[in-house]
């Protein structure tokens, strides 16, 4: 191992600060990066929410002229893009960052600097997309950017170029983060923690990361093709040159459908942690939840054409994709029944995280069922591009992903900060969100059935849509009020600081074994894992015999050593000591060796962002980015590998 750093001219020394802005720019600590992800994504959440409120304001009455068609197109495009790429994905990433090392008993992710790089690229990419507002020409082609409408002929402004470049930059960030978490989960588990002993949220993170790593390159390809079409006059989606706009739809949805599962699987993982904790029962059918998640992820690749039933792919193709789409409801149903089975007979505590999680099951089921409805091509041809589809995916993404994420915020806030979020404000937040959410999106079901198309900026007075639209707009305000209560709750709880202690919920997984908030090195001593929900069985060893059986299906006496499959694995576990200078240890599993801070991820991401700007402005800008890029790359590669 190289122990001495190779010399490389540095403009400033390696960062050491513990506080202040430089400590954040140079940080490689997974907890700080998780916080950065969370705060950034929440700011974009407010931006995207305000965009949604403007859309609802425009649609509140018939033939409104409040916003106008141009701004309306930009608003719904940016609302969708923001919520998918800048809110739900990074909020999930915030949970990945915070929780994965804690849940698997590691001191950090496998590649701390790569992790920092992911965040900075994400930040700059999100800024580039939103910078398009400053040019007065935000993206306006929808979050799916259908060709040829997104091409240069019909959309000559810079907006869609910003969109494409921004998404490609975000894709780099997502892929880097996804690779990092795959390696972290496979390679950094605490001694004794087999793959079927890791917490369910970690499993869902692994599956989501695999999906990110495999799906985002396809978006990158779509983006590059659209970009060259727009800027360099190629013919990928230009039928005059032999191209085919339908190819855009295929490539986009080849990415887009796995993306849907990228959004929902982390929330499913969160709910699968919250329910067992507050039902005081282990998750019902853990292997089935894991395999159902894997099955959803795998089958999610073979359903993309159900977004294109009305394109005219022919009855054979439509039928095949209808069948595969309906099949994917099976593993999803398995998960829902497992959650119900977890609740069944449990000693249930109804507090804010639990309320959010139970609402998740209900709302996600409604959204899932309307999804099965338009899995049928004849039905779908009625519902395509109507508000019914809008209702469906908001029930899945807001009622599913977002409620799950809020559940996780209330659940893990004590671990993140050391104090509780206020329970009364939390319940107000939950109630307002639930009322507002259902008022907003339930009417869209019958609006869509009644034929109201999506993405129109207004509608005629005599269509009979005014009442429902007004209800939806008022519901949107209530939903916004719920979010406001959440923000108030954050500041109020921060002021009051009702301290939580290490294990406020009587938790089951390893993150509750360390202090709240965790120390920089996460664990004073790396835990040795023997069981699934190991922390629970450490606290309640008498319950081991309820769940563990020996080879002859006899109950294991309490506290006895488990034999069988992992006896061999246990035998070769290294003895972990806390010695500070264990040189044979590369990842800090033994001695508390933490990765040093580094500015280079920030510098590299900054260079990459300037490259991105070059694609929307002028190629010469590349030369402005190159020094930062090369400096970041060289500096990074000269830093010792071990750090």
């Amino acid at each position: 191992m190289t122990t001495k750093a190779l010399t490389f001219p540095r403009l400033f020394p390696r960062p050491k600060a513990d506080t202040g802005i430089w400590s954040w720019i140079g940080t490689v600590d997974h907890k700080r990066i998780g916080t950065l992800y969370g705060i950034t994504a929440f700011i974009w959440f407010i931006v995207g929410g305000l965009e949604a409120l403007l859309i609802r304001a425009q649609l509140a009455s018939a033939e409104s002229t409040l916003i106008g068609p141009e701004a309306f197109n930009q608003l719904f495009t940016m609302h969708g893009t923001t919520m998918v790429f800048l809110v739900i994905m990074p909020l999930s990433a915030a949970f990945f960052n915070w929780l994965i090392p804690l849940q698997i008993g590691a001191r950090d992710v496998a590649f701390p600097r790569l992790n920092a790089l992911s965040f900075w690229i994400f930040l700059f990419g999100s800024l580039i997309i939103n910078a398009s507002f400053l040019t007065g020409n935000a993206p306006n082609g929808g979050w799916f950017g259908y060709a040829p409408n997104s091409g240069a002929t019909f959309n000559p402004g810079l907006g869609m170029t910003y969109w494409v470049v921004g998404l490609n930059i975000l894709g780099v960030a997502s892929i880097a983060a996804g690779l990092n978490f795959i390696v972290t989960i496979l390679n950094m588990r605490a001694p004794g923690m087999g793959m079927f002993k890791i917490p369910i949220f970690t499993w869902m993170t692994l599956i989501t990361s695999v999906l990110i790593v495999l799906a985002m390159p396809i978006l990158a390809v779509a983006g590059i093709q659209l970009q060259t079409d727009r800027v360099y006059g190629t013919h990928f989606f230009n039928s005059l040159g032999g191209g085919d706009p339908v190819m855009w739809q295929h490539i986009f949805w080849l990415f887009g459908h796995p993306e849907v599962y990228i959004l929902i699987l982390p929330a499913m993982g969160i709910v699968s942690e919250v329910l067992p904790t507050f039902a005081r029962k282990p998750l019902f059918g853990y292997p089935f939840v894991v395999l159902a998640g894997a099955a959803i992820a795998f089958m999610g690749w073979f359903v993309w054409s159900h977004h294109m039933f009305t394109v005219g792919l022919g009855p054979a193709v439509n039928t095949a994709f209808a069948v595969s789409t309906m099949l994917i409801a099976v593993p999803t149903g398995v998960k829902i029944f497992n959650w119900l089975g977890t609740l069944w007979g449990g000693n249930i505590r109804l507090n804010t995280p639990m309320l959010f999680s139970i609402s998740f099951i209900a709302m996600f089921t409604i959204g899932g069922l309307s999804g099965v409805m338009h899995a049928s091509p004849p039905t779908d041809s009625q519902q395509q591009d109507t508000y019914f589809v809008v209702a469906h995916f908001h029930y899945v993404l807001v009622g599913g992903a977002l409620l799950g994420i809020f559940s996780g915020i209330y659940f893990w806030w004590p671990k993140f900060t050391g104090y509780f979020l206020n329970e009364k404000l939390g319940i107000a937040n939950w109630a307002l969100m639930m009322i507002g959410f259902n008022f907003t999106f339930a009417p869209m079901h019958w609006l869509g059935m009644d034929g109201m198309p999506r993405r129109i900026y207004t509608y005629a007075e005599n269509m009979g849509w005014e009442g429902s639209n007004l209800a939806a707009s008022i519901g949107g305000l209530i939903l916004g009020l719920g979010i406001l209560v959440f923000i108030i709750n954050v500041f109020y709880s921060r002021m009051k600081k009702v301290m939580a202690g290490n294990d406020p919920w009587d938790g089951r997984t390893l993150e509750w074994a360390t202090t709240s908030p965790p120390p920089v090195h996460d664990f004073d001593e790396i835990p040795q894992v023997k069981y699934r929900d190991d922390f629970w069985f450490q606290k309640y060893p008498e319950t081991i015999s309820e769940y563990y059986h020996d080879e002859h299906d006899q109950a294991v006496p309490s506290g006895a050593q488990i034999d069988g499959d992992d006896a061999e694995a246990n035998a070769e576990l290294p003895v972990v000591t806390g010695s500070a200078d264990d040189h044979g240890d590369e990842h800090g599993h033994g001695g508390i060796h933490l990765p040093d801070m580094s500015y280079y991820p920030f510098i590299l991401a900054f260079g990459l962002a300037i490259f991105g700007v070059a694609f929307v402005t002028d190629g010469l800008v590349l030369f402005a980015g190159a020094p930062f890029f090369i400096w970041g790359l060289l500096g990074w590669s000269m830093e010792p590998v071990n750090d």
Binding site: A110, V183, L186, P217, I218, T228, T234, H235, D244, P574
Partner: protein, 215 residues
């Protein structure tokens, strides 16, 4: 065949849950990601194969003998790569440097071939804007060329550190990971050579489109 000359099992077992090195696992996962990237481009090419509305068509412009040579060059660079890795692990600095340098040279020759080919095509009237063949051909091979360029720069750095003695048997993994990337670029070209060149080289104008001979 000396027993001492072995490659893999001298690697120390890493102190990770799987016993595998994290960086190597990262590279393999990244290559899996890159599979999807190139897969989407190659699929686009195949979908649009034979759909050009104007010439030049592949049968007028593709030069199989020349591309066969450049394919052979890239294939042999993979051989040089694996030999370089072998000698680094063996601690034979001279031979290791030689073979890694050979990778750089062969990679650069391949890039030269591609540059000449692109210029020749442009000269004969095929650009990314000409027709859908030009679009799909240039973007796919161009992206592959960008991968080769990155690989050549990476290999040049490694050849230098082998020359100065910084690349030793104990950090041969640096070269092995770069080598995985290099071999991957090679196997992508194996597919491209078959799909774009050998299979498409006889593609002419699609049915119903009149062929215009270019001067």
């Amino acid at each position: 065949m000396t027993q001492a000359v072995t490659t893999q099992h001298h690697e120390p077992v890493e102190n990770t849950s799987t016993g595998l090195n994290s960086r190597k696992l990262l590279m393999w996962a990244f290559l899996g990601s890159d599979v999807m990237f190139f897969g989407a481009f190659i699929a686009t090419y195949l979908v649009y194969r034979g759909k050009s509305l104007v010439g030049p068509y592949p049968d007028e412009i593709l030069n199989i003998p020349v591309t066969s040579v450049s394919t052979f060059v890239l294939l042999m660079s993979s051989l040089a790569m694996v030999l370089g890795l072998h000698y680094v692990k063996e601690g034979n600095r001279g031979k290791a440097t030689l073979w890694i340098l050979m990778v750089v040279v062969l990679g650069a020759v391949f890039m030269g071939f591609q540059f000449v080919e692109f210029r020749e095509f442009a000269h004969e009237g095929l650009t990314p804007r000409t027709n859908i063949f030009g679009t799909t051909f240039f973007i796919l091979t161009g992206i592959h060329g960008a991968h080769v360029t990155i690989g050549v720069i990476w290999m040049a750095f490694l050849a230098y550190s082998s020359h100065t003695g910084k690349l030793r048997p104990d950090n041969a993994l640096d070269l092995e990971i770069a080598g995985l990337y290099w071999h991957f670029v090679d196997i992508v070209w194996i597919v491209i050579f078959t799909v774009i060149y050998l299979i498409s080289a006889t593609d002419g104008a699609p049915a119903g489109v009149e062929r215009v001979i270019h001067g």
